[in-house]
Amino acid sequence: MANSQIIVAFLTIVRREIRRFMRIWPQTLLPPAITMSLYFAIFGNLIGPRIGDMGGFSYMDYIVPGLIMMSVITNSYANVSASFFSAKFQHNVQELLVSPTPNWIILFGYVIGGVVRGLLVGVIVTLLSLFFTDMNLENLPITIIVVFLTAILFSLGGFINAVYAKSFDDISIIPTFVLTPLTYLGGVFYSIDLLSSFWQSVSLFNPVLYMVNAFRYGILGVSDIDVGFALAIISAFIVGFFLYGLRLLNKGHGIRD
C-alpha cells in the first residue's frame, strides 16, 4: 500500500473505533463520570477531611490525579479489549484481515481508538473534579506525556487480552483480577511512604505505581518515585507490548486458522 493509502486505512480504523464508543456512550462515557463523581464526593469530601493531608496536600487534591489516571487506564483497556474481541466474535475482524491494511496499522488504529476514549474519559473526569477542588498543573508537558503513554500502554494490554480471549468472560477476568488490584495498590489512594519498607519494595514491581506517580508529579509536583525512571518504565512496556501484539497479529493467533 502507498503511504497515502496507509493513512486512509489508519484513519478509517480510528474513525470506526470512535464511532463505536460514541454510539454506546451510556456504556462507555457515562459510567466513569458517575463512578468518579462518587469517589470525589465520598473519599474526597466526606472521608478526606478526616484523613488529613497526604504527601503535603489535602486528601482530595492527592487522590484526584490517581482517580483521573484510573479512569484513563480502565477505559483505554476496556475499549480495545471489547472492540477487538467483538470484532472476533462477530467475525467482522475478517473485513480487516482480507484487506491490504498492514498489521502494524491495524494494531496502531485500535490502540489510538483506545487512547481517544481513555483521554476523553480523562478530560470528563478532570472537568468533574473541578467541582470538588481547584487544580493547579505543576508540569503540563509531563502530565500530557504520562497520560498519553499510559493510555497507549493499556490500549495495547487490552488488545493482547482480546487476541487471547475466547469468551466475553475472558475480557473481564484481567480487568477484575489483575488491573483493578494493581490500580488500587498503585498509589491512587495513598502514598507508598505509608507502607512498611517490605511492602514499599513490593509496590515498586507494580507498573501502575509509576504511571500514577508520574501523573501526580505533573499535576501536584510530588511523586513517590523518580519521574524519569517512571517514563522509561512506561516506554519500555509500550515497546514490549507493541512488539508482542504485532507478533500475535502476524501469526494470526486466534484470528487466522
Binding site: N92, V98, S99, T101, D257
Partner: protein, 305 residues
C-alpha cells in the same frame, strides 16, 4: 497466459493434524466464471481462506493476478474481493458505513468511496436501507450487502462462497444476473455453491475437490460430455400403476404415481427409438425431465466413497 489465480502444490495441515489440502494444483483464467465444488469438508473453504488470508497455508505457492502472496500479499489482496459464506459484518453498523469503512481498509479515500458506495448499494437494491442498522436487513439483503462490500474496491477477481444459500429463488436469479453482468465486464468470478444447476448454467470451468484433492478440473462442457448415462422421468398417458413397460436395450421402471416412467439412457442411445417404442405400446409422452441435475450426477460419482 496470466491466470487470475494460480495454485501449485498447496497444502494445509491444521494443528490437530487434519490435512485439509493435499498439494492441490489449480488455475483460474482471467475473466473466467469458475466453479469450485465439493462436499462439505472437502477443502473449498480452506482454499478460499488461504486466497484471502484468513487461513495460513502449510506449503505451496499461490499467485493472485500474477502476484505471489508470499512476496506481496497486500498487493495481491487489492485484486481480490470476497463474499464469505457467513455474515461477517458488524450488525450494529449501517450498510453505508460498512461499505465505506471497507473502502477505507483498501486505502480508498472517502470522496472516492462515497459515490462508489452509492452506485453499488443502488445496484443491489440497498440504497433505501443505507442508514438503518444492518441487523434489520433480511437474509437476502445481508448477502447483497456483503457483495456491495466486496466490490467497493472494484477487484478484478470476486470470490463468492455459497452466496445464494438460503436466498429465495427470485432474489437468487437477480443476484446471478448482477454477477453475470460483472463477469461480462471482465471480472473473474470464482463460485462455490451447493446448487449444482447454478454451476452448470453459469460457469464455464469447474474444479471438483474431494478430501483435499482436486478430482476434476475442466470445462463444464467437457465434464458433462463424460456423463455416460442419464436418467429421465417421462410423464406418460396410458400407463397404469404397476404396468410393466419393457423395451429392449432400455432400463425402464414404472413409478408408483401411475403415470411416470423412469428411463435410463446410455450415451448414444436414441431418444426417438424410445418414443417410437413407447408409442407402439400405446403410451404417449406428455413431458420429460432429468431425474437429477446432470452435474449433480457427475458430482456424486466423483465424490462418493
Amino acid at each position: 497466459m496470466t491466470y487470475a489465480i494460480e495454485i501449485s502444490g498447496l497444502k494445509k495441515r491444521y494443528n490437530n493434524g487434519f490435512e485439509a489440502l493435499k498439494e492441490i494444483n489449480l488455475q483460474v483464467k482471467k475473466g473466467d466464471f469458475f466453479a469450485l465444488l465439493g462436499p462439505n469438508g472437502a477443502g473449498k473453504s480452506t482454499t478460499i481462506g488461504i486466497l484471502c488470508s484468513l487461513v495460513n497455508k502449510t506449503s505451496g505457492q499461490v499467485t493472485i493476478a500474477g502476484i505471489d502472496i508470499d512476496k506481496d500479499f497486500a498487493a495481491a489482496k487489492q485484486h481480490l474481493g470476497v463474499v464469505p459464506q457467513e455474515f461477517n459484518f458488524n450488525v450494529f453498523e449501517t450498510p453505508f458505513n460498512i461499505v465505506i469503512t471497507q473502502a477505507g481498509f483498501y486505502g480508498i479515500p472517502r470522496e472516492v468511496a462515497i459515490p462508489r458506495a452509492e452506485k453499488y448499494l443502488k445496484q443491489l437494491g440497498l440504497w433505501e436501507k443505507r442508514d438503518g442498522p444492518a441487523m434489520a436487513l433480511s437474509g437476502g439483503m445481508k448477502r447483497r450487502l456483503m457483495i456491495a462490500r466486496a466490490l467497493i474496491h472494484e477487484p478484478e477477481i470476486l470470490i463468492l462462497d455459497e452466496p445464494t444459500a438460503g436466498v429465495d429463488i427470485e432474489l437468487r436469479r437477480s443476484m446471478w444476473e448482477f454477477i453475470k453482468e460483472l463477469n461480462d465486464q471482465g471480472t473473474t468470478i470464482i463460485l462455490t455453491t451447493h446448487y449444482l444447476e447454478e454451476a452448470e448454467q453459469l460457469c464455464r470451468n469447474i474444479a471438483i475437490i474431494n478430501k483435499g484433492e482436486i478430482v476434476e478440473n475442466t470445462s463444464v462442457k467437457a465434464l458433462l460430455k463424460t456423463l455416460n448415462q442419464e436418467t429421465f422421468i417421462l410423464d406418460v398417458e396410458g400407463a397404469a400403476a404397476g404396468i410393466n413397460v419393457s423395451i429392449p436395450d432400455y432400463q425402464i421402471t414404472t413409478l408408483n404415481d401411475g403415470h411416470s416412467l423412469e428411463v435410463e439412457i446410455n450415451r448414444g442411445q436414441s431418444m426417438n427409438a424410445l418414443f417410437t417404442a413407447l408409442s407402439d405400446q400405446g403410451l404417449q409422452v406428455l413431458s420429460m425431465r432429468n431425474k437429477a441435475n446432470r452435474l449433480e450426477e457427475l458430482f456424486v460419482k466423483l465424490t462418493k466413497g
